[in-house]
Each structure stands twice: as structure tokens, then as C-alpha cells.
């Protein structure tokens, strides 16, 4: 891996990490319960992005498996939360 690409990957990891933590602000600020849960929509995509970037940086292939699990299960929160709206 060339130095330029590895530096770019590390910078990307830091920014993605900051994005996920920033999403917590919406979880705290609300105002509605749906707004708070929107932080999860972010986790489903941004979290997976962070995991695959870290998998490339640290050479941990397991992080890609974790990313698959995370995106696969990302719908469960919304499906469970809205379950009373369908019969």
C-alpha cells in the first residue's frame, strides 16, 4: 500500500469516526423520538463505511464481516419501532 493511500485511509477513518459521534448529538437533541432514532440510519451506512476503511488500514478482515452484520441488521430498529403502525 503506498504511503499516500494509507494516509488518505487514516484521515478518512478519523472523519468517519467523527461523523458517527456527531450523530449522537441528534440522538440527544431530538426533538421527536424519530429524530433521535435517525442516528441509527447514520450508523447503518457511516458505521459500515468506518468498518471497511479500518479493515483495510489494520488488515483485520473480520471488520468486514462485522460491517455485513451491521448493515444487515440496520433495519431492525426501524422495523421494531414502527411495528404498531401495521396490522
Amino acid at each position: 500500500m503506498s504511503a499516500a493511500v494509507s494516509v488518505a485511509l487514516i484521515v478518512a477513518a478519523f472523519i468517519l469516526f467523527a461523523c458517527i459521534l456527531a450523530g449522537l448529538w441528534r440522538a440527544v437533541a431530538g426533538p421527536t423520538i424519530e429524530d433521535r432514532l435517525t442516528a441509527f440510519v447514520l450508523l447503518g451506512a457511516g458505521g459500515a463505511a468506518l468498518f471497511i476503511v479500518l479493515a483495510a488500514i489494520a488488515d483485520l478482515p473480520a471488520l468486514r464481516d462485522i460491517a455485513i452484520v451491521v448493515v444487515g441488521l440496520a433495519t431492525i430498529v426501524a422495523v421494531v419501532f414502527t411495528r404498531r403502525s401495521v396490522r
Partner: protein, 107 residues
Amino acid sequence: MVIVDVLVITLLAAGVFFVVAGTVGLLRFPDLASRLHAVSKADVLGLGLIATALALHLLITEPGWAAVGVVAKLALIWILALIGTAANAYLMAGSRRRAEVETEEEP
């Protein structure tokens, strides 16, 4: 090699840009619908670009069946994220709209 590096870094930067844009939208937009719009579209696009950058980099630097397997995993992650995030946004927005309709009808 340099051209590939430039391409990879450009894709990566574009991907990170879209994720950041989605997050800023989530934090700064005024209501749920626009926040969902920002975060569900921009973030998944960002994920796709980042996955493309990683896949391209891997295929060029370490060509072989192992790389193809990893690329398949990255593609699976992106497809699942496409469907999952869109479904999430739809369900959340629908839930909010129903709650608003109910509060309008009640009083």
C-alpha cells in the same frame, strides 16, 4: 501506479465528503423529513464510493481470488445498505407522519 493512487484517493475523498454532507444535514436540517433525506441518500452514496475506492485499490495492488472475495463482500455491504437505509428512512418518516396526523385529528 500513481494514476491508480490518485483515482483511489479521489474516490475516497468523494465518499467521505458525501458522508460528512449527510451528517451535516442530519445535524443542521430543520425537520425530520429533510434530515432523513440527507442522511439516507448522501451517506449511502458515500459508502458506495468508499467501497469502490477500497475494491479498486485491492484489485490493483493484490490481484487474485482473495481480492475478488473481498470485493464481493464490499458489494454485498453496499447492496444491503442501499435497501436497509432506504427502508429505514421510509419507516421512520411514515411513523412521524402518522403521529402528526393523529395529533391533528385528536383536538
